[in-house]
């Protein structure tokens, strides 16, 4: 039986000397240094991570170079799938990233601005390596196309850019369908409302996306512990749960999280 995947997310930044470093913040503030990305990846692999997501959060040329180097070093030592995102805009960017040892690329803005990139990437490298990432924001006005009820109110989800700072007016569910049609192999669903809160994933959002597409869905943003993973798998139907800070700060180990899920009959790789 196919198992649910537990994926640690590692945001790669540069430290003062230009070396790769991982920082974690709460609500985009109080950034704390949490480690070297390669060492973190090795430790997570030992504790049973099913996959990794690396995000280049520098969005700079230096960041890109550093990221490729990090990916090469991780791929040389860790034999599980790696997804790499941040600043990918062309098929050459995709090719370079895959050649460095990534298995999939995660694309947000690059695809919103030029949706053909999905078709091009899927045709050249296969749809399994094209992950379309959405940064969704709840909106309670009448400007969307698909609505769900949240606390008695009618809500739609908008695709945002630049980490939620810029709206697009595009309905997440419309975009998810289009991305799938164009050849996306997986959807990576972030919630601006939940990011950094640790009070659980955006279940209505995740559920709506899972019900709209046939491609696998990675839920992200808001995970505060194993019980949130349980909810997003059983209530929303996600295929994978992503978390950053709970693992980085050793609040919960991946092992513990998987044991919790296994005890409650959620299939995981132990």
């Amino acid at each position: 039986m196919l198992t649910k995947r537990i994926i640690p997310c590692i945001d790669v930044d540069l430290d003062e000397d230009g070396n790769p470093a991982v920082y974690t913040g709460v609500n985009f503030e109080d950034l704390k240094y949490t480690g070297d990305p390669v060492e973190m990846a090795k430790a997570y692999n030992e504790s049973g991570a099913d996959e990794f997501v690396f995000l280049d959060i520098t969005a700079s040329a230096e960041g890109r170079e550093t990221m490729l180097d990090v990916v090469e070093r991780v791929a040389d030592e860790v034999f599980i799938p790696l997804t790499v995102g941040g600043g990918i805009r062309t098929t050459d960017d995709i090719k370079e990233t895959l050649r460095a040892g990534a298995d999939k690329v995660s694309i947000t803005t690059g695809a919103l601005e030029r949706p053909e990139l999905i078709n091009e990437g899927a045709t050249a490298f296969g749809n399994q390596c094209i992950v379309i990432s959405v940064d969704a924001r709840r909106r309670f006005d009448g400007e969307g196309e698909h609505y769900v009820e949240i606390d008695g109110e009618s809500c739609w989800f908008e695709c945002t850019k630049k980490g939620g700072r810029e709206g697009t007016g595009i309905d997440v569910l419309e975009w998810a369908q289009e991305a799938e049609r164009r050849g996306a192999g997986e959807l990576f669903v972030n919630s601006i409302d939940k990011d950094g809160t640790k009070d659980g994933y955006d279940l209505p959002l995740t559920k709506a996306v899972c019900e709209t597409v046939d491609t696998p869905v990675i839920a992200s943003s808001g995970c505060g512990g194993p019980e949130d993973m349980y909810d997003v798998f059983t209530e929303a139907g996600a295929d994978a749960g992503l978390a950053a800070s709970i693992f980085h700060f050793d609040e919960y180990s991946i092992e513990e999280t998987k044991e919790y899920l296994d005890e409650r009959d959620v299939p995981v790789r132990l």
Partner: protein, 220 residues
């Protein structure tokens, strides 16, 4: 285009990875090196003849894969003919079969695989989540040196099509994704085989399979 790595002093076997222009070859190279193979990534068929084993990797679409590998078709058939171990991974495994529904999808003529394991690759049913992506269990059906020590273990899959060999006995392991499908196939002679999953992405289980492969190569 040829890169030779000689990291290991006491290598067990020399393995060629066929470079036909697709995807991530780094992980499979490092995985085979871990298994004490000398690895050469090349599109030069002359290298195939000297190798103890040949790996046909692959991610991507069947048509593109077959078309990119087409100049090497005769050379790959010769590898199999000589009895040299030929290991197809993911799309590389699907290319060992005769044909695929995938190649026909766009209304173009069917593309021919290598036909070393007669059969066809078919798509998962409508309404199923595709690709089948993630860790799933290997249910070993019969003896083959490739599967030594991996029965019941988990491997990492990413695919939308699966192999249906004409001969049921070609299935070495099965995996359950709402239906049972062959996740490891092999020909009758046992020297041509493939995994639908990525051993180079399947953690310790995958490394065990790569070690088994290198062991097979060292015996020939």
């Amino acid at each position: 285009m040829s890169t030779l790595s000689t990291s290991s002093e006491q290598s067990l076997a020399s393995v060629v990875i066929v470079d036909y222009g697709l995807g991530n070859l780094r992980s499979v190279t490092r995985g085979l090196e871990r298994a004490d193979a000398d690895v050469e990534i090349t599109d030069d068929p002359a290298a195939f003849a000297d190798a103890d084993g040949v790996v046909l990797p692959g991610v991507g679409a069947f048509r593109e894969g077959v078309e990119n590998a087409d100049p090497l078709r005769e050379d790959l058939l010769e590898v199999a003919e000589r009895g040299t171990p030929l290991f197809g991974i993911c799309l590389g495994m699907q290319m060992l079969l005769t044909t695929s529904e995938e190649g026909e999808n766009d209304g173009e003529s069917a593309v021919q695989g290598l036909d070393l394991i007669p059969g066809t690759n078919v798509r998962f049913a409508e309404g199923q989540k595709v690709p089948h992506m993630g860790w799933n269990e290997l249910d070993v059906q019969r003896d083959h040196p490739l599967v030594e020590g991996v029965d019941g273990q988990y491997a990492y899959f990413v695919h939308s099509y699966y192999a249906v060999p004409d001969d049921e006995n070609a299935a070495v392991a099965m995996t359950d994704y709402e239906r049972e499908f062959p996740s490891i196939v092999a020909n009758e002679d046992g020297n041509v085989f493939g995994t639908q999953f990525h051993p180079e992405k399947s953690g310790e289980t995958g490394l065990q399979i790569l070690r088994n492969f290198v062991e097979i190569c060292s015996r020939e």
